[in-house]
Amino acid sequence: MLVDLYSKKIFNMSYQFAGSFQEAEDLTQDIFVKLHHSLSKYDFGKNFTAWFLTLAKNHLIDEYRRTKWEKKQRDDFDEHVRTEASADDPEHGLAEEENRALLWSGLNDLPNDMRMAVILKEIQGKTYEETAEILGLPVGTVKSRINRGRLQLAKILRDRKESAHDL
């Protein structure tokens, strides 16, 4: 039942954070193994989703620190994501797809804590409060971290636009 409820959420979180489909499969498995080890420690008074996502976040950041994914390339954007996007919304243009591809690779340039905050809030659609609960940080800290991340990604798009304009 936990697999049905959370596998997609955890897999997407892992994929967006690590940027590699293969890596995301391994990470999702590791996170579920960790979940089974840690279930006895779950406090029933707490929000289970937030608790599980915190466990997933901790694992992803620990693995990031251990293996340093930033040295690796992210999967090409169109390898897994683009096909699905086109099927979901056939109307959106080439430019929008290009923007997403830039943002996808730009996520790799964000520090791990900032990347995780941006993924939770901006991509997964959590509120600032939910994101703060998962990250275990004050809302103000999370807000400024996300805003700096958004700005860094916006600069990637602006620079790209300017260089295209110069050509």
Binding site: S7, F11, Y15, V33, L103, L151, L153
Partner: protein, 164 residues
């Protein structure tokens, strides 16, 4: 306001979270600064693109593996205990002893090793015996010394009485 300050406020501006006076100042700056205006446009584009980031479906094979996780955990339990970091020195020492034992068992000079070990053992044993005998003689001489001291003290006592 400088461009750096505008950058700090830009996300809050885009989210409509600035106080009216700050908002007015940002708007005034944006009217005269094409670079900041371009950044704001890119920020809005980035926000919209991130919000519509597509979700991917996990592969079916992965789901199957996830359903099997509790069973796999039970199977792995014994191995996990053995691989605890705290046990690693013990395992290393065990491996070292096992290597030594293997060398001994299959060494062509096994008889010589046995002889050398036996010789060392007897040497050690005789040394301990000598040491024990020495310790005994020291105890005896100390005992004799103690007796002499007691006798001397007894002799000294009557003298001290006569002095008084």
């Amino acid at each position: 306001m400088t461009c750096d300050r505008i950058e700090e406020l830009m996300a809050a501006f885009a989210d409509g979270e600035l106080r009216p006076e700050e908002r007015a100042e940002v708007e005034r700056h944006l009217r005269d600064c094409p670079s900041c205006l371009a950044l704001l446009d890119s920020l809005r584009t980035a926000d919209a693109a991130l919000a519509r980031f597509p979700e991917v479906e996990p592969p079916a094979a992965l789901r199957e593996k996830l359903y099997a996780v509790p069973a796999r955990r039970k199977f792995r339990f014994g191995l996990d205990v053995l691989l605890r970091p705290a046990l690693q020195p013990v395992l290393a020492a065990g491996l070292f002893l096992l290597t030594l034992f293997t060398f001994y068992m299959f060494s062509p000079a096994k008889a010589e090793i046995n002889k050398a070990v036996s010789r060392q053992f007897h040497l050690g044993y005789s040394r301990i015996e000598k040491l024990y005998a020495k310790a005994g003689s020291i105890t005896d001489s100390l005992g004799g010394f103690a007796d002499n001291v007691l006798v001397s003290l007894k002799k000294v006592n009557p003298l001290s009485k006569s002095d008084e």
